[in-house]
Symmetry: C2
């Protein structure tokens, strides 16, 4: 049911297909984030039009509200949010560590208080799988513990727990129509990442995720970690870099053999009036755009760029009209999805690494952090 095939490779970069019960994903792929069973401000029809194929939703949020049992009763997450294509749910681990109030971790699981009402809850590997089986996404994730990436002692403890929990998740899983991915941890510590990659790769997961990155480390540390991890992974399983990233992160990640990405950045930037563009990131509130008849990006063919001027978008933002967030979300998501599609084409044409310097130079003005000095690896 979950078949991964490589269509083409160029160096470490891979173009493939991953078959799921809700359709085939062309990889590499960027997944918009629909935290609460909705990609903020967008209808499924708009997501389809902007080119989305895989959507991520958050187990922690849906467990708390509206509840995974309710989602199951309503026919599962696909039916509930009316996304007909592939869905992925995370394990809830990252949100427990980053959002929940007062958490207590032990080797069996995590007790935490809801950020919504302070009520007490407990996640274990078995509970995370049970919730994710109720939600019913195509790809589900093993329950893991994300550490401070530079704290070696804590990273080792968290990694070992993550490994034990990975085995418990494999045992707990019952649904054949869901692919359970294992997660590699270890912070930015080379020895731990090596051990974690080898351990997770040795288990019978149909896909492997790299967790615990984009959580405060530098770009250099993130990419060095990928350089350690991806060579240790089997060729025949998809690789998912969780919570990443910016346009340049996608280019750099694909160059290191990553197949799947997700990130809240495009929709979060949209809510802060910012747009990706091939001229660098734009803040649409800039007074210079008041009478600018151009689209956000003249090279973009999304609905927003085909239809509206910078002047109109700036007006909507100034007038606090919610349509601004919708239109910027459409553009930002389309920009990343189209970039990844273009990269996939270039891998199949064997031109990816030739294009990398130009792509990085075009997109690095969109970086959140200092740009990484990329070295062509082909």
């Amino acid at each position: 049911m979950f078949e991964f095939n490589l269509t083409a490779t160029q160096g470490c970069a891979r173009a493939g297909t991953f078959t799921t019960p809700h359709g085939q994903l062309n990889t590499p792929v960027f997944a918009p984030v629909g935290t609460q069973a909705t990609v903020k401000t967008l209808t499924p029809a708009q997501l389809d039009e902007l080119g989305a194929s895989l959507i991520l939703s958050n187990t922690y949020h849906l467990y708390l509200r509206p509840g995974d049992e309710l989602v199951r009763e309503m026919g599962g997450l696909h039916a509930f949010m009316q996304w007909p294509g592939p869905l992925l749910t995370d394990s809830g681990g990252y949100q427990v560590f980053s959002l929940a109030q007062t958490r207590k971790i032990d080797d069996d699981g995590v007790t935490f208080k809801s950020h919504i009402d302070g009520s007490t809850h407990r996640f274990t590997p078995e509970k995370s799988i049970q919730i994710q089986e109720n939600l019913g996404a195509d790809i589900i994730m093993a329950f893991d513990e994300c550490s401070d990436p530079n704290d070696h002692t804590y990273s080792k403890i968290a990694m070992e727990r993550t490994h034990h929990w990975a085995e418990r998740c494999l045992t707990a899983k019952t649904r054949a129509d869901q692919a359970l991915f294992g997660i590699i941890q270890g912070g930015v510590n080379r020895d731990l990442r090596t051990a974690s990659a080898q351990f997770i790769a040795s288990l019978p997961f149909p896909g492997i995720a790299i967790g615990g990155l984009s959580v405060g480390e530098t770009k250099e540390e993130m990419l060095s970690t990928l350089d350690v991890v991806t060579p240790l992974l089997p060729e025949n399983k998809p690789r998912y870099l969780m919570g990443v990233g910016t346009p340049e992160d996608l280019i750099n990640g694909i160059a290191r053999g990553v197949d799947i990405f997700d990130c809240v950045l495009p929709t979060r930037l949209a809510r802060h009036n910012a747009a990706f563009s091939s001229e660098g990131r734009l803040n649409l509130m800039n007074a210079a755009f008041a009478r600018d008849p151009r689209p956000i990006d003249e090279t973009c063919d999304c609905y927003t760029c085909r239809t509206f001027t910078r002047a109109y978008l700036r007006h909507l933002i100034g007038a606090k009209e919610l349509l601004a967030g919708t239109l910027l979300s459409i553009h930002n998501l389309h920009a990343l999805i189209q970039l990844v599609k273009d990269i996939r084409e270039s891998i199949m044409d064997n031109t990816f690494y030739n294009n990398v310097p130009a792509w990085l130079s075009q997109w690095q003005g969109n970086a959140e952090r200092k740009s990484y000095n990329y070295t062509v690896k082909d």
Copy 2:
């Protein structure tokens, strides 16, 4: 350029067509309100899909932000907001009287302070026309003064000013590609409404509006006023009842010979989690809907009702997701637009008055105010 033809009539009710530079309107028609050059939360593509034909935008708001000169520079309101169909702008009068701070009215015009930044501005009939010519809508409105409907003394003064201003607007108008509609005032005073209808009907306006209703009077007073006014209007000009209404207001208005309506109610209700339905108005936050697999209205074929359950909409509202407002706006606007389209069909089939009691009984649960005891007039 602006041709109004009656396709069919049944009693006072009329089905017609009104030709504008941006396409033909089938009347009766309900116009969604796009106050700040956007119908809140909706793209033009969504407005088109839900069946909108005429959109209203507000002169007062656009004059203050982003400024009518800027809109003109950007190619006019159609190009700016990318609505390819007919547009209507009001005169700014109603907003000056209802929104602006400290206003001072004299026979020449109104001086007021912006509700945004307190800056001082002055509207006269000539200024209103100049702004509306910069905006460039297909239908523009004469500058008028809206009175307390039950205050006969003030209503008479406001009506007389409105009449003088109507003549000045006709003189000030320069663009041949815009239809200037006159506005009847007079509150709920039979003598004033009679005088105003006769005076405005005597001027060379291609369309006639009934202003100053839905501003605090009772339903009975509103409909009695229509009963006084519409018989005095020429058959061959479209009649526009401004700022109305609820589903039953549309039914009752069309039964009295009104052709055009606009109202913020559908989008405002959407922002308050309420939906029109043939079972009466629904509050989607109702706990009873938590596991309700039905659409808002099983008889509705809008995108929201074709796609989503009440349970999902309730979840979006509970999770404070903006998509809820978008989906409820789509439904509420579609509901009114479809109701008016169905009424138009029934006028052409000569079955409208037979259907009125059933329609009123179906929709009166959606009323904001006490339901009016309608009497069939055919």
